[in-house]
Amino acid sequence: MVIEELKLNIGPQHPSTHGVLRLVADLDGEYIKDIEAKIGYLHRGMEKLAESRNYQQYLPIVDRIDYLSGFFNAASFCYAVEALADIKVPKRAEYIRFITMELNRISSHLFWLGTFMLDLGATSPLFYTLREREVIVKLFEDLTGQRLMYNYYCFGGVKRDLPNGWLTRVREFCEDFPSKIDEYEKLITENPIFLERTKGVGVLSKEKALDFGITGPNLRASGVRFDVRKNLPYGIYREFNFDVPVLNDGDCYARYQIRLLEMRESIKLIQRAIARIPGGASEKLHIKRTNCGCNKPECPFCGEDTQIYLKKINPIGLRIPSNEVNIWVESSRGLSGCYVKSNGTNSADRVKWRTPSFSATQVLPELCKGGLYADVIAILGSLDIVLPEVDR
């Protein structure tokens, strides 16, 4: 009797391919003989769009590259344009960027945790993580008017100052959140079925991770201490001393743990940034500035440091001399790079995005081969792939 191979399409319309990834698997029973990832179902021509728009017009689109962590893409594009046009960013704006990015990292990881557990068949953690994510999203909504596509950063700073009481709410969230992580750990980390499903599954070795250009938590779970925030700091990250959690196993469980550790680390970073932000809470700053009214650059209330931008950029007038720059930002998924080549006009000659999910999708077949079908879903979930970022 000839045993035939089962050629199975997993995706694009599948509950757990995290969007529209398509995997074509050759199954032998439940075992994966071969698997191939096919991408491109969400291609929107993000890079080409930059060429027909001026810098200011392109900025809102950038958020859509990775809809779960929009701030990072906006940040890398802003840093790139600021580097090209030599625009100075005031300290307070940098701190606001810092806080929003770290919060965004947490919200992205929370969503990942929920969907990862959903992939493993546990439905409830999703609702618990979304409960906490909702707090962050609400914070973002009050800050930017948007829940996902923030369009908040601008060249030279951020668009508007923090609303009154915002920092207090963030501080409260930071105090509350570690106990919530403990709650997840209670529900998930000690669960024997979860351990069975994730320990030793989808082991990504150090060498393979480096070969495939894996970055972010996935790389750190494989034992490589590389974090753009630490190794090639941008913005105000060099002013902060923080731990980069590294685990050596490289399996799904390590990838799960590293993200929990990262959330805890982000909380600490946010707390320290709130304590150090120039000008402090905006309600007090506003009063102090009114009382002072000196407008001198060295004043602690009216000075450069406490502004959110130094001068408004004219979108049509922003003509950047011919040059090129490559900016790396550590997004919640890894190294998110933005290459911008300017040509003297007000729109870019070429914008190239380097996204972490793309490499993670590439390594997926390597990890899945020889495993069980159920493992494919677990590995796919643990790699934290976001499809719009892969296809751009």
């Binding site: 439940e30 557990m117 409830s124 409960r131 529900l187 499903r197 159920a374 879903i377």
Partner: protein, 353 residues
């Protein structure tokens, strides 16, 4: 009472008396089918509400008062939904599969004693019959998966077979422990042997209860053993291609089985329809003495719904096992454990009672 009434009616209309038994069975079947349908309507709503509470949501709350009519609305919708048979599917088997899955469920209901001496089918080996009948349903799953001509369905049905053969054994042997303790294969007698809370078989056979509950989850394809219909892996599993009433039959049977197995657990380990205090409140009141079965039915329902709640709670807590882990868990852990349980119970029974 009702049987006598039927007999009276027959003699009144001078109908052949031989048919009395038949009409009696039809009557019992109608009652049990009604119980099943009502129970399923309640269970579906309960499951959605319980899961909603456990996952900080509200659950259905729009249809009817407080969302109570939600399942009825769903049932009507499924009844009026177009029935699609995919091209390439085996038409006959495709239609037969839900029937094959559904039919044993009602027989299982017939075997459960809902009150003293009040089971649809009186049999001295009802437990054995129940175990035998309840495993017929797997055939329905397999034929559903095969007939759909869909790869996901096929994988799902293959998994359900693997699960069925692995978890049938510990289940049967755990039940064997109860048979050993009570010395009877009749569910009615098993219940009567545990008339108050101290006689419940959960006490000597705690391991047996654990094994039985675990295997029940597997037989029911419920979390953490919901591999045959793992929605994050196999989309819909064996019922991916089903729609309309055929899907409804699968759905109905699944929830009906959930209740049936919970009732069996209550019967085997928690004294079934008997009161935990050994006496019935209705037994003290002269006129209600005759309908003490109502109270017995209430006790069974109470115990069953506690177990149903436990199963739903498990679903909200645990992730899903993997196919190979599922198999080795059964064969390397549950099966030896169930034999150990049997030996312990035999020794206990021999030396103590």
């Amino acid at each position: 009472m009702i049987k006598a009434l039927i007999a009276k009616l027959f003699s009144y209309f001078s109908l052949p008396h031989i048919l009395v038994g038949f009409v009696w069975v039809v009557f019992k079947f109608a009652v049990i089918a009604a119980i099943m349908v009502v129970v399923v309507l309640m269970l579906v709503l309960m499951e959605r509400r319980v899961l909603a509470v456990l996952t900080i949501r509200k659950g259905p709350n729009r249809v009817g008062p407080n969302g109570l009519l939600q399942t009825i609305a769903d049932a009507i919708k499924l009844l009026f939904k177009e029935d699609i048979v995919p091209t390439g599917a085996d038409r006959v088997l495709f239609t037969l599969a839900p029937v094959l899955f559904f039919a044993p469920v009602l027989v299982v209901y017939g075997l459960i004693p809902f009150a003293e001496g009040r089971a649809g089918i009186d049999s001295s080996c009802s437990l054995l019959l129940l175990l035998a009948v309840s495993s017929v349903g797997i055939l329905g799953l397999v034929s559903a998966g095969w007939a759909s001509n869909n790869k996901y369905s096929m994988l799902g049905s293959m998994r359900s077979v693997a699960q069925g053969i692995s978890y049938e054994l510990p289940l049967v042997i755990a039940a064997l422990g109860v048979v050993l303790l009570s010395g009877s294969m009749s569910l009615n007698e098993i219940v009567l042997a545990q008339k108050n809370i101290l006689d419940w078989y959960i006490l000597p056979s705690g391991i047996g209860f654990f094994i039985f509950l675990t295997c029940t989850l597997a037989e029911l394809n419920r979390c953490p053993f919901d591999l045959p219909e793992a929605e994050s892996e196999l989309v819909g599993g064996y019922n991916t291609e089903y729609s309309g009433m055929k899907f409804a039959l699968f759905f109905l049977a699944e929830y009906a089985l959930l209740f049936a197995y919970s009732a069996v657990i209550a019967t085997l380990f928690f004294g079934g329809y008997t009161s935990p205090f050994g006496v019935y409140a209705m037994g003290f009141i002269p006129y209600l003495k005759k309908i003490v079965f109502v109270e017995q039915f209430f006790w069974l329902m109470l115990k069953t719904f506690v177990i149903v709640y436990l199963i739903m709670w498990i679903r909200a807590t645990l992730p899903r096992l993997r196919a190979d882990q599922l198999m080795s868990f059964s064969w390397k852990f549950l099966l030896p454990l169930s034999f150990l349980n049997l030996i312990l119970l035999a020794l206990l029974k021999y030396y103590l009672g």
